[in-house]
């Protein structure tokens, strides 16, 4: 059912996305790779990245699904406004997200001062990494799930209500399963975005090994290191991409089997 004409632009699009990654492969110093990838300099940030991105994704789910539901079921005008607000963090250049978070939660920040009084300091901790990642990844989840909710419509929810099911039951047993594919897509997107997050983290959380140095920061550090050995940066990037592809394919095929 696909018009044949579409195959040409589709393959150009795919090429544009995939070829640069292939280009990276040419830059790799293959003999040095295994040792580098098994070094603590590679594995520690990878572990931290996977851990923080996982926590962020859970946070995104907990906060984003309800937000998506509210937007999807709002009147068109309200929904339009909320959707715009939710999309704004996407526009922010990486740095600005960091400045914004610091100006809120940093020393002298609106909330930061109050938190300081109760002895809580968020910037430059692992919590800051999670917050930064959640901040940038949340819009993805909200928008994906909201779209799915809107397409699913409320016909089945109405049927469930006429059978006597309360809102909670309808939400858990009808709404969520119906938007399952959209939810999974949103989860994958926000996890990916959290895993790749650099800008806000760099400013808001800093770059301390084992605490806030996630993979993207490690890559940045390697890139900026003495001697522009992009080698190490490239190797770390490859590691990140490989891990991401494995996770995406695993989830993607699971998702496929759910759908079919």
């Amino acid at each position: 059912m696909i018009p044949r004409l579409l195959y040409l632009p589709a393959s150009i699009g795919l090429t544009l996305l995939v070829l640069p990654l292939a280009g990276l492969l040419l830059k790799v110093d293959w003999p040095a790779l295994p040792a580098l990838l098994l070094s603590p300099e590679a594995l520690q940030p990878l572990g931290l990245s996977l851990a923080t991105a996982s926590v962020s994704t859970v946070l995104c789910l907990l906060l984003g699904v309800p937000l998506a539901v509210v937007i999807a079921r709002s009147k068109p005008r309200v929904a339009g406004l909320l959707r715009a607000l939710v999309t704004v963090p996407l526009v922010l250049p990486p740095l600005v997200g960091g400045i914004a978070l610091l100006s809120l939660l940093g020393r002298g920040g609106v909330l930061g001062n109050s938190l300081e009084l109760v002895g809580l300091r968020i910037p430059f901790t692992t919590a800051a990494v999670v917050i930064a990642q959640t901040f940038v990844a949340l819009p993805f989840l909200v928008i994906a799930v909201e779209g799915a909710l809107r397409t699913a419509g409320i016909r089945y929810e109405r049927v469930a209500a006429t059978l006597g099911a309360g809102r909670g039951t309808v939400f858990a047993r009808i709404t969520l399963p119906l938007v399952g594919p959209g939810l999974l897509a949103g989860t994958v997107l926000s996890f990916a975005r959290a895993l790749g997050e650099f800008g806000a983290t760099a400013l808001f959380a800093g770059n301390q090994a084992g605490v806030t140095r996630t993979m993207p920061l490690a890559i940045y550090t390697a890139f900026n290191g003495s001697g522009v050995t992009t080698d190490q940066a490239v190797a770390l990037s490859l590691l990140l991409i490989a891990v991401a592809v494995i996770i995406l394919v695993l989830v993607g095929t699971r998702r496929a089997s759910v759908l079919s």
Partner: protein, 241 residues
């Protein structure tokens, strides 16, 4: 800290510090030199761990202003440190090194670039630092002194980006610090333009106010200013302050 070979002569003043972790925020161009200095202090004070965080000076300054857990701040220019000092967020700033500019070209200098005027030659792709960052300000002064006007292909956000573009072949030439040429042997080659030594960028250092490791922080600053520290810096191409 990485185990780079040290070519510093004598160790600095022994202080005998308590075991602790010292956090140093340093401009990215100091990477090689400060790795060695950190090692030096750790050697002298067993149990002390020096963590150096490198980034653009303005990023580091912003983070310190927001309460980052830094003990020492070494900036690539006065502009990023002085406001902190003025606000009492750091102690007084001391200049500890200088840096001059070189023309960076591909190894072997295939385009035979010998002076600043060559940068404006048609067909030569030149990249500079943005005027807002320290190396860019110095570049502007140097070019103005030489009476050369040129439109760079790009005004990079930091020196590393300039070096990357030249090392990668994207650009033919650019103005970078002497230390950057020294740190990238085999990737770029330096050409010293006339009048380069007249334009010096100065690096200030200060202890961050309220540091929980004030004594160790001061010891690190002292080490940097000591002859041993200065020798390390010199070995990486820095000038005396």
């Amino acid at each position: 800290a990485p185990s780079t070979a040290m070519d510093a002569g004598k160790p600095g003043p022994a202080t005998g510090l308590e075991p602790q972790t010292l956090s140093v925020y340093a401009a990215a161009s100091l990477t090689g030199a400060f790795d060695e200095l950190a090692l030096l202090l750790e050697d002298e004070n067993p149990g002390v761990d020096v963590q150096v965080t490198y980034d653009g000076s303005s990023t580091l300054a912003t983070q310190i202003a927001a309460g980052a857990p830094a003990d020492v701040f070494a900036s690539a220019d006065q502009k990023n440190l002085q406001p902190l000092a003025d606000d009492g967020l750091t102690g007084p700033a001391t200049r500890f090194a200088g840096n001059t500019l070189r023309i960076a070209v591909a190894p072997g200098n295939p385009l035979k670039i010998e002076n600043l005027a060559d940068l404006a030659r048609p067909g030569v792709i030149t990249v500079l630092c943005a005027a807002q960052v320290p190396c860019g300000a110095a570049s502007a002064t140097l070019l103005a002194n030489a009476g050369v006007t040129l439109t760079p292909a790009s005004e990079e956000q930091n020196v590393t980006a300039v070096v990357t573009k030249i090392a990668g072949g994207e650009a033919d030439a650019g103005l970078v610090y002497t230390t950057d040429v020294a740190a990238n042997p085999g990737r770029v080659e330096g050409v010293t333009p006339a009048g380069a030594d007249a334009v010096v960028g100065h690096y200030p250092i200060a202890v961050v106010e309220g540091s929980a490791h004030a004594e160790a922080a001061q010891a690190f600053v002292d080490l940097v200013l000591s002859p041993a520290g200065q020798a390390v810096l010199a070995a990486h191409g820095f000038l005396a302050p």
